[in-house]
C-alpha cells in the first residue's frame, strides 16, 4: 500500500508528461479536450503534495470546467474543427492524416529536446524552492516547457488557449509550494476559467478563424 502511495506522484508526472505531449501533437479537438482533463488530474495530484486535498481539488474542478467550456463552444460550431498539418486552424478539414506526419514528427523531436533540458534543470529548482519535491518540479517544468513550446509553434486559436492553460498549470504547481492563500487559489482558478471563457468566445465568433 505504501509503495502505491509513494508511486502516485511519479504516476502523476508520467500523466502530465504524456498529456502535455499529447496536446502538442493531437490534431482532433475532442481528443485534445480529453487529454486536457487528464492533465488536470496530474496537476491535482502534484499540487496535493503541497496543499490539503480539498484545496487542491479547486485546481481539478477549475481545469475540468475550463475543458468543458472549450468543448461546449467547439461542439456548438456548425462546422468541424480540425487542426491542419501546418498547425494552423482549418475548418471542414476531412482528410485523414498519417500519424507520423511531418507536423507530429517535428513536434515530437522538439519535445524530446525540451524534455532533455527539463530533466537536466529539474534538480536545480530545489536550490530556489527547498520544500518542493522532485516530482513536482519535473511535472511543473514539463507543463511549462511544453506549454511554451505549443505557444511558439502555432497561431491556431485552440492551440494557443491550450498552450496558455498548460503553461499556467505548470506554474501553479510551483506556486502552490510557496503560496497557499485561499484568495490566490480562487484568483488563479478564475484566470483559468477566464482563459477558457475567452477561448470559447473567440472560437464561437467569426467562425473562430484567425485572420492570416
Amino acid at each position: 500500500m505504501t509503495v502505491i502511495i509513494q508511486a502516485i506522484p511519479i504516476l502523476a508526472v508520467v500523466l502530465v508528461f504524456f498529456s502535455s505531449l499529447g496536446l502538442l501533437i493531437i490534431t482532433n479537438w475532442r481528443w485534445s479536450i480529453v487529454v486536457l482533463t487528464f492533465q488536470y488530474v496530474g496537476l491535482f495530484v502534484l499540487v496535493s503534495q503541497s496543499w490539503p486535498v480539498t484545496l487542491a481539488l479547486v485546481k481539478l474542478v477549475a481545469g475540468w470546467m475550463a475543458g468543458a467550456i472549450i468543448g461546449l463552444a467547439l461542439s456548438n460550431r456548425d462546422i468541424e474543427y480540425q487542426i491542419s498539418a501546418r498547425g494552423v486552424f482549418q475548418s471542414g478539414l476531412k482528410k485523414k492524416e498519417r500519424f507520423f506526419s511531418s507536423y507530429r514528427v517535428f513536434r515530437l523531436f522538439i519535445a524530446g529536446m525540451v524534455s532533455l533540458i527539463i530533466l537536466a534543470l529539474a534538480p536545480y529548482i530545489n536550490k530556489f524552492l527547498p520544500e518542493i519535491k522532485l516530482e513536482q518540479s519535473v511535472g511543473a517544468l514539463f507543463l511549462m516547457g511544453f506549454g511554451i513550446l505549443q505557444l511558439s509553434l502555432t497561431t491556431d486559436l485552440l492551440l494557443v488557449i491550450l498552450g496558455l492553460l498548460t503553461t499556467l498549470s505548470g506554474f501553479e504547481i510551483i506556486y502552490a509550494d510557496i503560496e497557499s492563500s485561499s484568495l490566490v487559489t480562487a484568483l488563479l482558478a478564475t484566470v483559468t476559467l477566464g482563459i477558457a471563457q475567452l477561448g470559447a468566445y473567440l472560437l464561437s465568433i467569426g467562425h473562430g478563424d484567425v485572420s492570416q
Partner: protein
Amino acid sequence: MNAPFIWIILPGAIGVILFFLLRFRRMVSLAGLVTSLLLVLAVYVLPLGKPIVVGRWSIEISEAWVILGRTFILESHKHSMVVLLYLTIAFWFGGTSIGDIDRRIVPMGLGIASLLSAALFVQPFLYAAIFIEMAVLVCAALLVSPSQAVPPGVLRFLTFQTLGLPFILMAGWMLSGIEANPGDAALVRQVGVLVALGFGLLMAIFPFHSWIPMLAEEANPYITAFVYFALTLAISLFVINFLDRYNWLYASPWLLVFLRLSGVLMVALGGIAGAFQKHLGRLMGFSMLVEIGNSLLAMSLGSGGLENRDNFRILFASFLPRGLSLGMLGLALVIIRSQAGSLEYNRIRGLARNYWLSTASIFIGLLSLAGFPLTAGFPIRLILWQELSQQFPLAAYAAIIGSSGILIGSLRAVGVLVLGSDQQPWRTLETAGQKSLLFASLLITIVIGLYPQGIYPILYRMALIFLRLEP
C-alpha cells in the same frame, strides 16, 4: 459598506447589468458615463472611515474589506489614481455613442476599471498581477468584435501578457527571499532576470512589443487606444508599488541600466519605425511604443536611489496628456476608418478635404504624443528631456529621435490625407456629436500646451500624494 465595494464591486455589477441592455446604445453610454463620473465624485465626497449621519441613520464607509484572509484597501494616497482611472473611463465612454465603436466598451470598460481598481487596492500588492491578467482577458474579448476573425495581434497580446504573470509572481516571492539573504549575488542576478522578463512581457518592452502595432492595425482604433492607456496606467502603478515594496531595488544599478537601455531601445525603435509607416493605425501603435519608452526613461529618473523617487512625478504627469491624445486620435481614426474601410495610406488619400476636423485631430494627437511644442504632451516631455540630458545624454538624444520619427510619420500621414484635386472643396462631414467631441479634445490639448501651469502643478501634487511624499 466599504470602499472596495464601491469602487470594485459596484462598477463591475453595473457593467454586468449594462451588458444585458446593449441594444439601448445611448442609454448604456450615458449610464456608463454617469457611473464613472459618480465614482470620481464619490472619492471627494464620501468620508472614508468616518460616520455619515443622515437623520437617525448613521453609516460608516470603511477603507478596507477582508476577503478570504486578504485585504482590499483604499488608502488615502491612492485616491488620486482612482480619480484618474475613472475619469479616463468616463472620457472614453463619452465618445462611444458617436462613432463606429463597439458598444460593449461600456460594460466591459466598467469591468476593466473594476479589476484595475482591485489591482490597486489588493494587499499584498503582488496579487495585483492576477487582477491585471483578468483585465487583460476582458480587454482581449473587447478587442475582437463578434463579426470579425480573431486578429493575430490579439492572440499575441494575450500570450505575452499571460506569460508575464508567472514571472512577476515568482520574482516577487524570490525578492522576499533576497531581503532575508541580501548577500547572495547569484540569486539577485536570477531574480533580476525574472523581474526583467516579467515586466518586459507586461509592459511590451522589446522584444515583446510586437502586439502593440499589430493591435492598432487590426482592431478598432478607439478600443485599442483605450486598452493601451488603461493597461499602461495600471502596469506603471504596479511597477511603482513593486519598487516601493522592495525599495532597496531603487539603489540597484541593474535596474537603472535595464530601465535606461530598454527605454532608449523603445523610443528609438518606435520613432524610426513610425517614420516609415503606411498605415495610420500602426503609426498610433509605434507612437505608443515611444510613449512606453518615455515612461521607462521617466522611471529611470526615479530610480538610482530613494532620494530620486520624487522624479516619478514626471511619469505620473504624462498620463493625462497621453490619455487625451490617445482618446482624440482613436476617435478620429475610427471616423476615417468608417469612411475609407481601412487606415492604409492608399485608402485614405484626400479624405482630409471631407473630414478636416478628424485630420486635424489625428495630426494634433500625434504631435502631442511626439511632445511637439504648443500641445499637451510638450511641457512634460521637455522636462523629461532636460532631466535626461543632465544624467544620461544618450537617452535624451534617443527620446528626441523617437519624437522626431513620430513627427515625420504624422507629417507623412497628413500629407496623404490632404492629397487631392484643388477643385474639391474643404468640408467637415463628421456628425455634430463627433465635431463637438473632436473640437473639445483639440481645444483642451492646445490649451494645456499653451498654459501648462494651469494643470501640471495639480498633476504633480497628485503624483506626490500617491508616492506618499506629500500628505
